[in-house]
């Protein structure tokens, strides 16, 4: 399978956004899909949480809180 030039959402800085390409962890993918995070969705890192580790994220028009390692399995194109 060809790998498109995509990068994990955890490499982003606050304020950056992109379109979700795919997930690299099936375990987390199932749960992310359930709450409406899916390929094609627009993802924007709004701000980092206190004590590090978690992010306030906007998926399309909805707000979700995700951990750093959860973002790490979301590839952005």
């Amino acid at each position: 399978m060809p790998f498109p030039r995509s990068t994990a959402a955890s490499n982003f800085a606050a304020g950056m956004s992109g379109t979700i390409d795919r997930f690299t962890n099936e375990n987390l993918a199932g749960k992310l899909l359930d709450i409406g995070v899916r390929p094609g969705s627009r993802l924007r890192l709004v701000r980092r949480g206190p004590f590090g580790g978690s992010w306030y994220v906007k998926i399309d028009r909805h707000c979700v809180a995700l951990r750093q390692q959860e973002l790490a399995c979301i590839m952005i194109k």
């Binding site: 749960k31 359930d34 909805h62 959860e70």
Partner: protein, 710 residues
């Protein structure tokens, strides 16, 4: 499942995603005619209510827990899948009201299409129709209904609109369910599942292919799947190399692709609708300002709790004191009057006096939940909580624990990771619940002078200190358990943060009412029983000893020339020592002496293990001021007069008071909480561990405090 006639007791299930406004709709449809129980075999709270539609038999409306999909990650969600895949079960609904938030249709249709493929008659309820006008959202309901092939009703649970149409639709559906069955599925099991299904389709008690697929995915934990079938499924999964996760992801993506065009064609958003919530979150979830606001909010909450609950509490105490006096005047003096006033009335008063505080605390917590702030609090503290082995969602339990550990422990069901959930359950009772308040109130006056420094009262500071001690010990204990317990299970945050909305007061009112009612009934039963038993134990004793006590009291009264109340106090004191309660107190005295307690405190301690709020009532009985009800000041004065016969010093000196306070902060003194822990963890192991660690912590700390201060 064809019905030519309406079933005698039709069951309609209310299903939807979390935050879809499902419970608001349930409250709107059933009002206070709700019954709260548990789903069979599990501890998930089951709410059901009766709905009357025209001439139909009464409909039982069951409020299922919120779920995102048929692939559950939490206990709440598992239950939905379990009941909806079990056509033979009692709770299998005749019809489903699927509640979706009109502004989040692009997410909420996932579970809808899954349930639809289970061949269940359904109505799609679009909630929050009030948003349509305010946010410029447009929905083509007719087209949506045509494309999804189900009746679609828009309602506003907030404003109570659309109920008549909804009832009409439920009635139509129950009269002719066959007409509401789907003609074709949204999704056919794909390549990844084809082989395994070919093997299993005949073996499984499934209504259709999708039902069979779900059984294949979940057979290992579904309670209604027999052991034999479970093995068959397992073998077929291995043989066909069925990859459950991969199949789930494949299914979910296919479903999104199916209904996304439908949503696009029928729902139109006008610009960016969430700017209001976004602006608030810019402040409330700010990485520095956010936690500060949270702490300030909590301080305000507890301040208000004490400030506002004062006068209703005084009122309740006054009422029971007056009632007690009235009964004493009415009944002839004797054991019946004593039992009624010192046992039953004092016990009832002891329970009801907490109602204002519990109601207020639940009032605040429900508002925070309704507004959408709790999810933000979980986000703010997730990273910090993780360091202690907990989850951001544990914050909700740790806050609620300050009202009562029982609902707090039940709120942990949303934590998917078992270890995080277990730790939260184990440490939540260390937070100072409202039952500790009266104990603190009485003892602080002995521990801390009634003085102030720079405007801060020392007693108030000590009060705050005890709360801090509780939460700090909870976090510290979690850390220790985190290091002891090992788990490979993955932990999630993945938390939805709903838009801020003003609270629906109907929901707040119903929640507060239900919690208060549960408290009065559940805690009330125990406290009332203990009050009566304690009254018996302290009024009666071995006859010979009691006679002896009476004689010696008579001598003391004569020698000191006492009369009236003073004489009565002497009699009561001597008799208490000779009573069965006195014997119990003396029996445990050697164990608690290093903590600075005498046998009378021993009695109070002993009874407090049933429920700590019994302390005040026991003190009242022991110091024979029961006729004054639970008037804390009266008991306090009497306790201050208590002198240790050996040393001649007051019994309640600073060292003993602090030792007792620390004991009550840490000790596991609540049978109801242990019972809930047992239910939620599924056995005696964890409640026993919880009881042992908390009580050991209490004993050792109280001893250390007494030995240092004495």
């Amino acid at each position: 499942m064809h019905h030519d006639q309406v079933r005698p007791y039709p069951v309609v299930g209310l299903v939807g995603n979390p935050n879809s406004g499902k419970s608001s709709l349930f409250n709107l449809l059933t009002g206070l005619r709700q019954r709260i129980g548990n789903f069979p075999g599990v501890t998930v709270e089951k709410k059901s209510g009766t709905l009357q539609i025209d001439d139909l038999p009464p409909v039982e409306l069951v409020d299922f827990p919120g779920a995102y999909s048929c692939y559950p990650t939490s206990l709440d969600e598992r239950l939905v899948v379990q009941e909806l895949t079990n056509p033979a079960g009692d709770l299998f609904p005749d019809a489903i009201l699927y509640v979706a938030d009109i502004t989040k249709l692009d997410k909420h249709l996932l579970l809808f299409t899954q349930l639809r493929d289970l061949d269940l008659p359904m109505i799609l309820v679009l909630n929050m129709a009030d948003m349509v006008e305010t946010s410029g959202l447009q929905v083509d309901v007719t087209e949506l209904s045509r494309r999804l092939a189900v009746p679609v009703v828009s309602v506003s649970a907030r404003e109570g609109r659309g109920v008549a149409e909804l009832k009409q639709a439920i009635g139509d559906l129950l009269r002719d369910p066959a007409a509401f069955r789907p003609e074709e599925p949204f999704y056919e099991p794909g390549v990844l599942a084809r082989d395994v299904l070919a093997d299993l389709r005949r073996e499984l008690p499934a209504r259709n292919d999708y039902h069979a697929l779900l059984l294949t995915h979940h057979a290992s934990w579904l309670k209604h799947v027999p052991e034999k079938t479970r093995h068959l499924v397992q073998e077929a999964r291995v043989k066909n190399k069925f990859h459950s996760l991969r199949a789930q992801v494949d299914e979910t993506m296919t479903r999104y692709d199916t209904f996304e065009p439908i949503v696009k064609a029928t729902v139109h958003h006008a610009g960016d609708t969430n700017s209001f919530s976004d602006r608030i979150d810019g402040v409330l979830t700010h990485h520095l300002v956010g936690p500060v606001i949270f702490v300030a909010l909590m301080l305000f909450l507890f301040q208000a709790l004490f400030a506002w609950s004062g006068w209703p509490m005084d009122g309740i105490e006054w009422f029971f004191a007056t009632l007690g006096e009235g009964i004493r005047d009415y009944l002839p003096a004797g054991w019946l009057a004593d039992l009624a006033v010192d046992g039953i009335i004092a016990g009832l008063g002891g329970v009801l006096v907490f109602v204002p505080q519990i109601a207020l605390l639940f009032f605040f917590i429900t508002i925070l939940e309704e507004v959408g702030y709790m999810a933000r609090a979980a986000y703010l503290f997730d990273s910090l909580m993780q360091k202690f082995g907990l989850n951001g969602r544990s914050v909700v339990a740790l806050i609620s624990g300050h009202a009562c550990a029982i609902p707090a422990i039940m709120s942990t069901r949303t934590i998917a990771n078992w270890k995080e959930r277990l730790l939260t359950i184990l440490v939540t009772p260390l937070t100072s619940c409202s039952a500790r308040i009266p104990v603190y109130v009485i003892l602080i006056s002995f521990a801390v002078p009634d003085d102030s420094f720079l405007g801060f009262g020392y007693q108030g500071l000590a009060f705050a200190g005890l709360y801090f001690l509780g939460i700090a010990s909870a976090m510290f204990s979690a850390l220790i358990f985190k290091l002891i317990l090992k788990t490979e299970e993955r932990s999630f945050l993945m938390l939805e943060m709903p838009d801020y909305r003003s609270p629906v007061w109907r929901n707040v009112g119903i929640t507060v009412w239900q919690k208060v009612k549960t408290f009065i009934v559940e805690a009330g039963k125990i406290i009332l029983l203990i009050s009566i038993v304690l009254w018996g134990l302290s009024s009666y004793g071995p006859p010979a000893k009691m006679a002896e006590a009476e004689a010696s009291a008579a001598i003391i009264v004569q020698e000191n020339g006492l009369s009236g109340d003073d004489a009565a106090d002497v009699y009561a004191g001597e008799k208490l020592e000779a009573s069965y309660a006195g014997h119990i107190g003396k029996f445990i005295e050697p164990v608690i002496r290093p903590l600075g307690y005498d046998w009378k405190i021993g009695i109070a301690l002993f009874t407090s293990f049933a429920a700590r709020e019994v302390f005040v009532g026991t003190m009242a009985t022991i110091y024979s001021v029961g006729s004054a009800g639970d008037d804390e000041l009266r008991i306090r004065d009497r306790m201050a007069e208590e002198i240790n016969p050996v040393t001649g010093e007051p019994v309640y000196n600073q060292a003993t008071a602090w030792s007792l306070l620390v004991f009550y902060v840490f000790a596991m003194m609540c049978m109801s909480t242990l019972a809930v822990t047992k239910r939620e963890t599924g056995g005696w192991k964890w409640p026993i561990i919880q009881f042992t660690f908390m009580t050991t912590l209490a004993y050792v700390s109280a001893m250390a405090v007494y030995q240092v201060l004495a």
